[in-house]
C-alpha cells in the first residue's frame, strides 16, 4: 500500500512540505514572528526554552528542536538565534544539517539588531519557499510512515470507543510495515504489564524502568498523581484513577509486539510498535513524537481538545457523539458511533486508517484548517 509523499535527501518521506522558522532561544521569538508576518506561507514557532539549561535537560531540548526541524514534513529550516544563548544557533543548525535537512541560520547580534535580522530572514525564507516548490509528491510505501498516537481530554468512553478503534488502525499500519508510537508514560502506569507481555525481556525491562521513573517522581514530590492526572476534566468524564485511565489509553497502540522503547524526541530505530517516554501533557507529548519523526498523529478526545502540530496533521477522533456534534469544527472523526450502535470498533478503525492515508496524501485535518501551531518542549531540569 502506498501514499504520495515528499522523499527527502536523507531517505525519509514527508507528508507536508513546510518551510519552518524556529528560534534557538526564546529571545528570538519576536523576530521569528515578524518574519512570519511577511512570509505567511512559512510556519513559525515560539517556545520558552534554549538558555541557561544544563545536562540532560539541555540535551533533550536541543534534540527536540533538531528532530522537529529535521522531520520529513519540513522541506527547509531557518534557525534564528540571538547570539549569547546556551543553545548556540549555529551548533543547532549543524545538528539539523547532520540529520540531512536543508538549513540556514541567522543571529540577531551578528545582524546588528532586529530590523536587519528580520530583513535578512525574509530574504532567506523567500528563497527557501521557492526551493520547496520544486519538491513534488511521489509514491511511497506506507511502511515509511511513523504514526504518533495520543489521547487528550479523555473520558469514560475513551477506552471503549476511540482508543480501541485507533488500536485497530495501529495494528493495520504495523502489519503493513509501518511504525506506531505509543507514549504518555504516566498514562501507562497500571497497564505496563499488558505491554510487557508483548515485548522481549530486554524491552520489557526498559519499559518497567521508565514506569518506575514516573512513580519515583511522584514519590519524590510526595504527591498522589491523581491531583494532576487524571485531570479535573477526566474525572468529570468518569475516570477515577490513573490505572483506569492507563488501561484505556494503552489500547491506542493496538495489540502487536512492543519492539522498542525510546527517549523523548528520539527517532525509533525499529519498525512496529514503539513506546516513547513523554509526559501525558498533550502539547509536550505531540512535540516529542513529531520530533521523533512522526509524520502523522491520531489524537482521541472525549472532552474535546482542539490542539494541532505546526508541521504534522493531527487527526482528531471524538469518543462520543454529543461532543463530536458540539465541537464539530475541531473534530475529524466520530468514534461515538460505536456507542450509538451504528459502527463496530473495526469499522471506525478502518475509517481512522483511511484518514491516516488521506492526510498523508495531503488532506488537511481540522486542526490544520484552523492553523493550530501548538509546540512545547518537555523540560526535565530547572533553568539556571
Amino acid at each position: 500500500m502506498t501514499f504520495a509523499g515528499y522523499r527527502r535527501p536523507n531517505g525519509t518521506v514527508g507528508v507536508r512540505n513546510h518551510v519552518l522558522v524556529i528560534p534557538s532561544v526564546m529571545c528570538a521569538n519576536h523576530v521569528v514572528n515578524l518574519i512570519g508576518r511577511t512570509c505567511s506561507e512559512a510556519v513559525t514557532i515560539n517556545h520558552p526554552t534554549g538558555c541557561a539549561q544544563v545536562g540532560t535537560d539541555f540535551e533533550q531540548t536541543k534534540r527536540t528542536m533538531a528532530g522537529f526541524a529535521a522531520n520529513p514534513n519540513v522541506a527547509a529550516v531557518l534557525v534564528v538565534g540571538l547570539g549569547c544563548e546556551t543553545n548556540e544557533s549555529k551548533a543547532l543548525a549543524q545538528e539539523i544539517a547532520a540529520r540531512g535537512q536543508r538549513v540556514e541560520v541567522i543571529g540577531i547580534q551578528e545582524c546588528d539588531g532586529t530590523t536587519n535580522t528580520i530583513a535578512r530572514g525574509i530574504e532567506i525564507v523567500g528563497e527557501l519557499l521557492r526551493e520547496a516548490k520544486n519538491h513534488v509528491r511521489t509514491r511511497a510505501d506506507v511502511a515509511e510512515l511513523i504514526l504518533g498516537t495520543e489521547c487528550g481530554g479523555s473520558d469514560g468512553f475513551s477506552g471503549i470507543t476511540a482508543n480501541p478503534a485507533l488500536g485497530y488502525a495501529s495494528d493495520r499500519l504495523v502489519a503493513a510495515g509501518g511504525t506506531v508510537i505509543l507514549a504518555e508514560l504516566p498514562e501507562l502506569v497500571g497497564a505496563e504489564h499488558l505491554l510487557a507481555e508483548r515485548a522481549s525481556p530486554a524491552v520489557a525491562k526498559q519499559l518497567y524502568e521508565l514506569i518506575e521513573r514516573v512513580e519515583a517522581r511522584a514519590r519524590s514530590m510526595h504527591v498522589d498523581i491523581r491531583y494532576g492526572n487524571p485531570t479535573q476534566g477526566n474525572i468529570a468524564g468518569g475516570l477515577t484513577t490513573i490505572e483506569e485511565k492507563s488501561l484505556g489509553a494503552a489500547y491506542k497502540g493496538g495489540s502487536s509486539e512492543l519492539r522498542e522503547v525510546v527517549e523523548y524526541a528520539e527517532r525509533p530505530r525499529s519498525r512496529g510498535l514503539v513506546v516513547m517516554d513523554t509526559p501525558g501533557q498533550d502539547i509536550e507529548q505531540m512535540t516529542g513524537m513529531v520530533a521523533g519523526g512522526a509524520q502523522v498523529v491520531v489524537f482521541t478526545t472525549g472532552r474535546g481538545t482542539p490542539t494541532g502540530s505546526p508541521i504534522a496533521p493531527v487527526i482528531k477522533v471524538a469518543t462520543n457523539t454529543p461532543m463530536f456534534t458540539r465541537m464539530r469544527e475541531n473534530m475529524d472523526l466520530n468514534a461515538g458511533t460505536i456507542l450509538d450502535g451504528n459502527a463496530s470498533i473495526a469499522d471506525v478503525g478502518n475509517d481512522i486508517f483511511d484518514w491516516i492515508i488521506e492526510s498523508a496524501n495531503g488532506r488537511k485535518t481540522a486542526a490544520e484548517e484552523l492553523e493550530f501551531r501548538d509546540f512545547a518542549i518537555n523540560r526535565i531540569g530547572p533553568s539556571f
Binding site: 469514560g156 477506552g159 471503549i160 512513580e215 511522584a218 510526595h222 477515577t240
Partner: protein
C-alpha cells in the same frame, strides 16, 4: 463485552465488578444483565461507573478485567463508583516515606 439488557451500561469483562454507564442512569432505575440486576442508588452520569455488586472497603475495583484501584469506603451494589469511594494504588507519592 456484555451490554445491559436496555443498553444503558457496559460490563467490559465478565469478572468486572463495575459497569460503565453509556447514558445517564437515574437514581432508582434498574440496570439488568440477564438474571442479574442492580438498582442505581444515585444519579450516575454517562461515562461513569456503577457497582454491579457490593465491594468491601479495601477490595479491588475491576474494570477491563484489571484492577483500577481499591475501595476507600464500603461500596454497595448500585452505587456510583468514583473518586469519593475509590483510590488509586499507583503513583501514590503521598504515601511515600518522608526521607530525612
Amino acid at each position: 463485552m456484555p451490554m445491559s439488557d436496555d443498553g444503558a451500561a457496559l460490563r467490559l469483562k465478565d469478572d468486572d465488578n463495575v459497569a460503565v454507564c453509556l447514558r445517564a442512569v437515574p437514581v432508582a432505575s434498574t440496570v439488568r444483565f440477564g438474571a442479574a440486576e442492580v438498582r442505581a442508588l444515585a444519579d450516575i452520569p454517562a461515562g461513569h461507573k456503577i457497582a454491579l455488586q457490593a465491594i468491601a472497603l479495601g477490595a479491588l475495583v475491576r474494570k477491563y478485567g484489571q484492577p483500577i484501584g481499591k475501595a476507600s469506603a464500603p461500596i454497595a451494589a448500585g452505587e456510583h463508583v468514583h473518586v469519593h469511594n475509590v483510590e488509586g494504588m499507583r503513583g501514590r507519592g503521598d504515601l511515600a516515606e518522608v526521607s530525612a
